[in-house]
């Protein structure tokens, strides 16, 4: 017992000395020291489907920055880390990024649970954190900025389109029974009520359950003009749509949870579904074409199709680079002070995080075609995120 205790102390001492000497290493070329951008992302766990695309977006942005001489003449180093898609992994990843790799900024897409665990760590360490994933909203912090959508930006336009153009007055709303599903159905209900619509039914399905029979029968019995749903991402969208169609239901469907990739992988299952978003590969502007071509050239056959969860990562890194150039410093306080003034014109259009650390975003309406591909049918222009963090400027 006593012996092992002594061994432990010895080990601690050795480790401590090693760390001290490492920390005291002289840095002769401070100017050429790389700027480190950490990307804690769900390389394993539920986000592992989308994470590779996020890392690819980041790699392209960093390559472009380094090709023109880095940021303020300093090379940019990308540090992808695995947050295991959850809070425990995020705590490890954020601590590793900040303490071990001395990250200058954390720019990443992650689950809300991982973000909620990681953000306080970044905040305490005064490290700038740009969150590039759409989410349920109202995450605030002095060093936390968000460049992707919150429900206010995509829900209301979709409800309005279906009310005006598809004449949906009587609705049935449904979702997966968890924070994101309920978090999106709530604003949908508000938007529906605001436009004078009525809600005939509201149902939530447990995440594990992939048989939607009971809810589909309830929809049939209620006979609404239209459906609005928010399942969890990926597969459940296709499960629901397959069973909905096989049951012979034909009313218009709005989705708050489908994405371009899922729709395409689902073949014809989601044909006809309307959804809104800030990024689609089909956006017709010069920046998007250049972006997609550069991605294809860099990754070739290994390219993961860029999507609304991965593209903002590219914007986020470029916005950060511009902010550092403008602040002439990597100091988080200085960068955070100028970040809201930065406009980066990327594949989505001009994005500026100037509304309480959130960004007004261009929002598009799209519809899934018979081959699973997504077609943009309308642009809503810049949509405001509303009041997300009233205590911040």
């Amino acid at each position: 017992m006593r012996k092992s205790w002594r061994t432990l102390v010895a080990l601690e001492l050795v480790l401590g000395l090693a760390m001290l000497s490492g920390g005291a290493a002289p840095s002769a070329e401070a100017q050429a020291q790389p700027i480190v951008i950490a990307v804690p992302v769900g390389l394993s766990g539920v986000n592992s489907v989308v994470a590779p695309a996020v890392v690819q977006s980041a790699e392209l942005a960093v390559e472009e920055l380094n090709a023109k001489g880095g940021i303020m003449g300093r090379p940019v180093k990308l540090m992808p880390l695995d947050d295991e898609s959850g809070p425990a992994g995020a705590v490890k990843a954020f601590n590793t990024a900040i303490r071990q790799h001395k990250a200058d900024a954390i720019i990443t897409m992650e689950t809300s649970a991982a973000r909620n665990a990681g953000a306080p760590i970044a905040d305490r360490a005064k490290t700038l954190f740009i969150y590039t994933s759409f989410y349920e909203g109202r995450a605030c912090g002095k060093y936390l900025y968000v460049n992707a959508w919150v429900p206010e930006q995509i829900v209301a336009p979709l409800v309005k389109f279906m009310t005006d153009e598809k004449k949906v007055k009587k609705w049935f709303v449904l979702g997966s029974d968890y924070a994101f599903g309920r978090g999106l159905i709530e604003p949908a209900k508000k938007a529906i009520a605001g436009l004078g619509g009525t809600i005939l039914g509201e149902e939530y399905q447990p995440l594990q359950q992939s048989d939607w029979t009971a809810i589909i029968s309830k929809i049939r019995a209620a006979n609404p003009d239209g459906i609005m749903y928010a399942t969890s991402g990926g597969g459940p969208n296709i499960d629901f749509m397959k069973q909905f169609k096989a049951a012979g239901l034909k009313m218009p469907v709005g989705s708050l949870s489908i994405d371009e990739l899922t729709a395409e992988q689902g073949g014809n299952a989601a044909e006809g579904v309307y959804y809104t978003g800030d990024y689609f590969t089909g956006i017709d502007n010069a920046e998007n074409k250049t972006f997609l071509e550069a991605m294809k050239k860099k990754f070739g056959a290994n390219l993961k199709t860029p999507n609304s969860l991965s593209e903002p990562q590219y914007d986020g890194i470029h916005a950060y680079a511009m902010a550092v150039e403008k602040a002439k410093s990597t100091d988080a306080d200085k960068v955070a002070a100028v970040l809201p003034t930065i406009v980066f014109k990327g594949p989505r259009g001009a994005v500026q995080m100037n509304k309480q650390h959130h960004a007004p975003l261009p929002v598009y309406l799209a519809q899934v075609q018979a081959d699973g591909k997504t077609k943009i049918i309308k642009s809503f222009g810049l949509v405001d995120p509303g009041s997300q963090c009233p205590n911040l400027k």
Partner: protein, 276 residues
Amino acid sequence: MYTTQLLDVVTTAGVLYIVAVGLLVVYGVLKIINLAHGAFLAMGAYAGVLTTWAGWNPWTALLLAAVMGVAVAALVEWRVLRALYARPLDTILATWGLNIIVVQILTLYFGREIHFAESAIAQPISVAGVTYSQYRLVLLLIAVALGVLVWLVMQRTQIGIVTQAVIMNEELAQALGINTRLVRFVTFCLGAGLASLAGALLTPLVSVHPNLGVPWLINAFMLVLVAGVSLGNLALAALVLGGAQVLVSSYGNPVLGSLTIVILAVIILRFRTITI
């Protein structure tokens, strides 16, 4: 409304029966719970993806799935399980390990993302005045056909009679000169083949991904626990538990509905005299 609910109840029972029958067969003869059942379901579902890629008729996926399931099961029974029958607890570990290996191989080859498998039947049909999913009705017929087929094999064929002897008293059967090793081998292959077949049958209802078997495995497990080793009991359990789930979901909500199978299973197990 009532017609729809009746159809919901019987078709849900049909789906549950299809998913659980392979697990029951293995449990009945080998007295082990095949925790790789979910992996075999997933493998069968990917057979649907492969036939879609090849452009074959969607029904061929059933055959391919059964062949793949039997092939993998034969290999595993021969090289691994056979040595573990004297240690039932270790078979839990072994089949769970097999589950992980199969799911990881599927993930490595196909990736974590969902895949598309062509459906043989996607149109609805009109039954007694209600429009209903034709495929669910077909599944009900398949469930009945599978039930009858497995029952016939057990009652009318030599291997079935021998299998029953093994179920009732394995040592006595062995003493009478029955090759119990062969019976176990055939049963495990049959159970896994049925599981893969069920996976292929599920693809028109759900999207294909490596973990698609997990939620189904849990329900199948509950049903088998309640049903014991009888095919008739399994049909009854599927009808009662599945029916209760549908009705609670319809009149209450799906969150309560999904609890129903588990709660009912616990209640039934509490009051049922277990006879194996």
